[in-house]
């Protein structure tokens, strides 16, 4: 943790309003973005993010100073969003079969890839590509989207994701792989356009 974060956490522990204000303003975009990807609705994401900050500030004593403040906040908002999503509906387990790779009878690719290698820096800087990635993630079925966010973005282990989504580790791996493939295919046009 940086010395600025140390100071911020210390201020919140003492009940300093300015520190709370700084915390919210610094991390709002990051947490709200994450909540939106998980829950889907901007209004609900705002409520979830608000509740997450209230919980974080009230329970700042449970934060260990050696830890990563952003990761700790992300964990809180993830849990809040997961709870909200479960309350709202049973998680959809739609099929992604249409987006999967196709093979011939001998197990070789049916379609050949014509794309040239991507320049990740160029792709990541393109607001069009970034928007397309957001949309592609949002369009994944619930369980696949959650698994992708928790495992690839949040960095939870397969075991942790299995616990959080109430499934087996094997299922997490299947969902993650399929989500990555589907995301890649949904991004196909972006890969083609930007080379």
């Amino acid at each position: 943790m940086t010395s600025d974060e140390d100071e911020l956490v210390e201020g919140i522990r003492k009940g300093d309003t300015r520190s709370c204000n700084t915390l919210v303003k610094t991390y709002w975009a990051d947490l709200n973005f994450l909540a939106r990807r998980i829950i889907g609705s901007p209004d609900e994401a705002d409520d979830i993010t608000q509740d997450a900050f209230i919980n974080a500030i009230k329970h700042i004593d449970t934060f260990e100073n050696r830890g990563n403040l952003r990761a700790w906040l992300r964990k809180i908002v993830t849990n809040q969003a997961l709870m909200a999503l479960r309350k709202k509906k049973a998680l959809k387990e739609d099929s992604l079969d249409d987006l999967m790779l196709q093979f011939d009878d001998s197990g070789h690719h049916l379609n050949h890839f014509t794309e040239r290698p991507a320049n990740l820096d160029v792709l990541a800087e393109s607001s069009q590509v970034r928007e397309r990635i957001r949309q592609a993630i949002d369009n994944l079925p619930d369980n696949y989207r959650l698994t992708l966010i928790l495992r690839d973005i949040q960095g939870y282990t397969t075991r942790e994701v299995a616990d959080m989504t109430h499934t087996t580790e094997k299922n997490v791996k299947v969902r993650l792989h399929r989500a990555r493939l589907a995301l890649r295919n949904l991004l196909g046009a972006a890969f083609r356009d930007t080379y």
Binding site: T17, N32, F33, D46, A118, I133, I149, R180, R184, F191
Partner: protein, 85 residues
């Protein structure tokens, strides 16, 4: 007996273990050998890794989405709910 030559379908199946770890040395070697000779799988593996990296980058810089700033009324609500009496 485990087969010695992997097909593209096998490579797709093992891709997650190759990228995330958790693959036996022998399977890793077979996977690598296939990828060296198969340009489709080589391209696909790169795109698979690029997709993961791009997803991370979008989350690491969420500032270009609308609602990037906390609305004033929300900020006040948070501060009011957490104010120490």
């Amino acid at each position: 007996m485990q087969k010695t030559i992997l097909t593209c379908r096998d490579v797709e199946e093992f891709m997650i273990d190759y990228v995330d770890g958790g693959m036996s040395l022998l399977t890793r070697l077979q996977f690598t050998m296939h990828v060296v000779i198969c340009s489709d799988c080589r391209k696909y593996l790169k795109m698979y890794k690029d997709t993961i990296a791009l997803g991370k980058r979008v989350f690491d810089r969420p500032d270009d989405e609308a609602a990037g700033q906390v609305p004033d009324e929300v900020l006040h609500a948070i501060l009011a709910a957490t104010e120490k009496k």
